[in-house]
Amino acid sequence: MSSYHLTHLRELEAESIYVIREVYAQFDNPAILFSGGKDSIVVTHLARKAFAPARIPFPLVHIDTGHNFPETMQFRDDLMERIGAKLVVGSVQQSIDQGRVKEESGINASRNALQTTTLLDTIEKNKFDAAMGGARRDEEKARAKERFFSHRDDFGQWDPKNQRPELWNIFNGKKNMGEHFRVFPISNWTEMDVWQYILMENIEIPSLYIAHERDVIWRDGSWLPMSDYINLRPDEKVERKKVRFRTLGDITITGGVESDADSLEKIIEEVAASRNTERGMRADDKRSETSMEDRKKQGYF
């Protein structure tokens, strides 16, 4: 009997593929939210596994803040080409130009909060009824109770008190007109699982995750990449450091860590020894202890 057993990564993989297939079967018009980060890359990889030898039978959606790492954009376009997937882009710049949202000003200005509107507009315009994301329950306290199938009302909002119980592997994607679901196929993965899986499966990821030399400034406890979108404070100076990023988001708020980890194996060693959560590096989560929860309620990823 012992030969009929899966390792933890294979069991997580099987669960995620199952969830992605359920989404395809239960919804009319699903999509993957693709940020260019490792988690959405893994979800995309799992979606390929779910439908092989066919292509992924639904589009990938990128919410483009306009403040991207150039490496992320290049990676995104190469990946779409390689797997033959359809890409839909929602542009925050366009939301600003159309007066849907107002750009923040000041030293900590970021387009992070603005993404929510662009995302909801993109979902509505394309009539997506299920948007799959790479969020994991281990990322943050507010996510620990998140369902695989997370129901959103017709304003795209999440009501933590009104989520459906999920039992066994039976998912309930029933909804009324105008409502949609967010689905999180890798809910049960941890940061470590994601890295180990990337290594095991030899999945390509943006070079930003691997230690590299870069112009950075020290702000709020992490190395923020220098870019055209950053306003320097008087006491800040640009330095050249060897850094890597643990999450990839808007370039204005994604801090890196100093690191010599220039291979996946070394990254995994660093993650194992690391004493900080990956989200600890993101300026948007530092604003208040419950900031993630507040943004979630409004319809953030």
């Binding site: 012992s2 092989a52 109770k145 049960n188 419950t290």
Partner: protein, 420 residues
């Protein structure tokens, strides 16, 4: 780097105990002592403990969830936590002992291989203990660990422990669980959680973590009855795979190999497995809980909701089901009411024809006179479905034996059922 992670197993467990038995402290202790807590999380918890004027770091804060609860100081739902040791990765379905607890525990228990049941050493086996154990047994969790907590408050005395063990064993004879173990612990001080206690020499069993790491879970899946519910049909529409027709799904029981003679239910068509496919190419066999794609030798009509099985031990096919139902919703069950029924990958409508009895889960008796069910009630019912359900008894297969009911107007999941 070592490749140890390539042989780690996954264990899902659920935790149950009544309020203040020390469940949050125990989980916090497991996470903390197994070094699964990051420094920024610990810093937050330290700061909060100080703000509250506590003397020690309150590990239970580590597992605190949403803001509403933080404000009200209660937990109201199932939360999932993760930690890993070099041997296993653990997923904890943490279910609070407060209101709605039956619903929460049933939810957490539905995916668990193991249940941790907490007992306060001062109070012994109480009604809550029996309820939690009954739910674990009803949901067919294969392994139970009863943690007798707060041993420090009974001076780490062996008699306190053995008394609780024998009380528990008395009533556990009525349960349907084969593997029950008992561990005396102090979650607060860490005795027998991760580290062996030096205060309980009389106990020669293993620590909680060691038990979690070594309990044999390889036989928890059904490897005998071949069951493959089809989720979706894969048709690539490309030149290379012009005639490809694959049936995508997750193995719910048994082993599938190329060449196996199979039957597709409910049509009854027979065929042979041509290949077991994955993105990385064909493989030699598929077993639970693998997600694969099967192709068949014959061009027969197969679609979502069908089940591919083997001839020798077929599932049951019926429109009349006898089900143990746990009601999960605030609006009570309507006898004679119609609901959407979901079972594996199939869906139909079902009517609640009759309530046989309501379970009194405090004393494990059946109330034949009470035919109602509100939130948190467990009842045995007869259902009539609009199409045949291809099923097994829940005791034999947790995937093909489970259903949920969905309210047709609110779309909410209102009940979870185990087919008898």
């Amino acid at each position: 780097m070592s490749d140890g992670y390539l042989d780690m197993e996954l264990l899902r467990f659920t935790t149950a105990g009544s309020v203040d038995d020390g469940k949050s402290t125990l989980i916090g202790r497991l996470l903390y002592d197994s070094k699964s807590i990051f420094e920024d999380q610990i810093e937050q918890v330290k700061a909060t403990s100080e703000r509250k004027g506590l003397e020690h770091v309150d590990l239970s804060l580590l597992t605190d969830g949403l803001r509403d609860e933080r404000e009200q100081g209660i937990t109201i739902d199932v939360a999932y936590r993760y930690f890993a040791t070099p041997k296993r990765k653990f997923i904890i379905a943490d279910t609070p002992g407060h209101i709605q607890y039956t619903r929460n525990m049933v939810t957490g228990a539905s995916t668990a291989n193991l249940a941790l049941i907490l007992v306060d050493a001062r109070n012994g086996v109480i009604e809550q203990t029996r309820r939690h154990s009954y739910i674990a047994s009803l949901l067919q969790i294969p392994h139970l660990i009863v943690c007798i907590n707060k041993m420090d408050l009974v001076d780490y005395k062996e008699e306190a422990f053995t008394k609780i063990v024998s009380d528990y064993e008395d009533f556990a004879s009525k349960l349907d669980v084969n593997d029950i173990r008992f561990i005396p612990i102090s979650a607060l001080h860490g005795d027998n959680v991760v580290e062996r206690s030096d205060k309980m020499d009389w106990y020669d069993g293993s620590t909680l973590l060691y038990s979690l790491e070594t309990i044999h879970i390889g036989s928890d899946q059904n490897h005998i009855d071949a069951r493959f519910p089809v989720q979706t049909v894969i048709r690539p529409h490309s030149d290379e795979y012009h005639d490809y027709r694959g049936y995508a799904g997750r193995v719910a029981g048994g082993i599938f190999r190329p060449g196996d003679e199979v039957i597709v239910q409910p049509s009854g068509f027979k065929s042979k497995i041509r290949s077991v496919d994955t993105l990385d190419g064909p493989i030699e066999q598929a077993f639970p809980p693998m997600s694969v794609t099967l192709t068949l030798e014959d061009d027969i009509d197969v679609s979502r909701g069908d089940m591919i099985v083997r001839e020798n031990n077929p599932p049951r096919t019926s429109q009349d089901l006898e089900v143990m139902l746990c009601w999960l919703n605030e609006s009570p069950m309507l006898t004679g009411g119609k609901y959407v029924l979901r079972h594996t990958s199939s869906e139909c409508r079902a009517m609640i024809k009759e309530v046989v009895y309501k379970m009194n889960i405090s004393d494990l008796t059946r109330n034949m006179d009470d035919k109602t069910a509100g939130m948190n009630d467990i009842v045995k019912v007869h259902l009539r479905t609009t199409k045949p359900i291809i099923n097994d008894p829940y005791r034999r297969n947790r995937q093909t034996g489970s259903i949920i009911l969905v309210d047709e107007t609110t779309n909410e999941t209102v009940a979870a059922g185990m087919i008898v």
